[in-house]
Subunit: 249 residues, 3 copies
């Protein structure tokens, strides 16, 4: 259902079962898949000369919460879920099941894999590349300008299954390896090896992720987190993780 | 006065003298006390399966500024004041005179005492406990996941009169003691003793709060701050602080 | 064009060619110059007892993006550009060509020079003074209370051409010198000399800005940045920088 007060361009392509909340605006260069739900006060498909002319495409079964803003020329596979007041600029491509927390901002020209989860107030500079199953916790800043101000934007590269803890900053061009863990409030100026924990300002490697135990009383290892944390991932994904774990044991 | 453009459910319980600004939305599971003032573009009582079914209750004489979002199943004693674009999720209980700065977010399942003041852009993770008369400065992050991602959320515990300076991060499960001071941009990984100052990444104790002087030229001690800072607190509270101070002298 | 759903006070002074987006609110104590463009869901000229009674004045050719809030008693020279969800409180004066990134907040009683650029989510406490051509990167916090909570607000002072990198915190009363560079995620507790780089928590001087090279493969010095970065500045400004550089060589 489209609320009476929503302003939806007749040029926008709207799927079946779409809901658009009060006072939201959908511009013409927008494609919304089936069963997309848009909250109140959202603006979708903001035009920009920085886009490539393609529409904002939101795949099926998305939930975009209130006060969010999406520009044209970005594309989301099915299952997008956002918090409130999210901003996504142009030329961003994201895979399935992407979750973006409240107040987070993606500045555009970014590539993001499948089942990535941003918590609240995450900042993603232009030209960032993020793999699959990455976790980014609140107030993390992914930078891109090595000598501000300059024209040499060099995005960060966050690999599959990496987890970046709250209030950390990743400096321009840094690669965070697969299954790596960045501790809270770290400032990461060098590449992080896979399965490695880094901490501090500047961040230094302090060990292997395999040495960290869960705080649930079992003493089980906390990493790789795919061995114990499966909430919200599709069954076939979790089955793949389990098969891999069984094969390793 | 309720603005013509506001959308207010007939199921909502609205007190006397309530003002609701342009384009704001009040859902059905909401109780607003007397003289509550709600700015423009707010959404109150967002429904969620994570709530306990109880309404959003906003006590008398509250001021909720524009673009704010409150979910159902949270309860605020009288005198709530918010900045703009505040987000409060379900199952949060807060005492009298709570102030929440612009852009701050409370993720829910939190307990907050009386006369707590958050400045701008404060993040409060689920399961946080905050005492009375606590100050939290801009861009502070109160975390809760010791091994992200996990299901073991362990909230922070901030005791009465503690003051947490700008851009600090408190790690999961940490207790900050009464009248303690966390310096700006600290990363607090261990419990902080009462009346103690901690600073750095990771934060270490650097002294007693009693050794810090005000910067007003008088040389008076800055802590306990209740000896010199009383703006906005009710008279009976301030009288209690004065009596205590007199008794100690 | 003023959108049908915008609520514009007849007392507001609106220039020629002004555009006001859907659902925006313009209160009476507001002066908008010619060709000012205001996005959706903005509220301009919020009244406050903390103002001096003067209007919010937005100079010609400004662009204020959606969900932004400006109070009365602040004044902007021509060419203001904001991101989304910007908040500016009362008694702020800013020069020409001021850019304020998405989610940034200026708490009021601030003085800001010409051609200053804030990126996203910058926080500026009361009583801050900022010179001309200053850059402030994402998630920077400019504080003002040396002993929170107190009544002794002492603003930061950021001098011409200084650049403050992402997620840094500047402590109350600190002066950052002309052409200085604050590294990312620094906590600056002492004054920073001109043309000096500081880094760390607490920040220490680590060298002269002249020793840093661009990452563009040329090996040219990155600072002073005015020697290579001119995007978006007016021709007469850039000509002045070039003349100065030629004079020095």
């Amino acid at each position: 259902m489209i609320h009476d007060t929503a302003i939806v361009s007749p040029l926008a392509e709207i799927g079946e079962g779409v809901e658009i909340g009060p006072y939201s605006i959908v511009h013409g260069n927008v494609v919304l898949g089936d069963r997309v739900e848009v909250g109140a006060y959202c603006e979708l498909g903001v035009t920009t000369p920085l886009g490539d002319g393609s529409p904002l495409v939101v795949g099926d079964d998305a939930l975009i919460r209130s006060h969010s803003v999406f520009y044209e020329s970005s594309r989301f596979a099915p299952g997008l879920v956002t918090g409130h007041r999210v901003t996504v600029r142009e030329n961003t491509q994201a895979g399935a099941g992407f979750q973006i927390g409240t107040l987070s901002e993606i500045q555009g020209d970014c590539t993001i894999g499948d089942y990535v989860r941003f918590q609240s107030n995450v900042f993603v500079g232009k030209k960032t590349t993020i793999g699959n199953f990455v976790w980014v916790l609140p107030y993390v800043v992914l930078t891109n300008d090595p000598t501000p101000p300059s024209n040499d934007l060099i995005g960060c590269n966050i690999k599959d299954y990496a987890s970046i803890s709250a209030a950390s900053v990743i400096l321009p061009g840094v690669t965070v390896g697969t299954h790596a863990l960045v501790a809270a409030h770290a400032c990461v100026s060098k590449d992080v090896e896979p399965h490695t924990v880094v901490a501090g300002v500047p961040a230094r490697a302090i060990g292997d992720t395999g040495t960290i135990s869960l705080r649930d009383g079992t003493g089980r290892p906390a990493y790789p987190w795919t061995d114990h944390f499966t909430r919200g991932y599709p069954g076939h994904i979790v089955d793949g993780w389990k098969a891999k774990e069984d094969g390793e044991n």
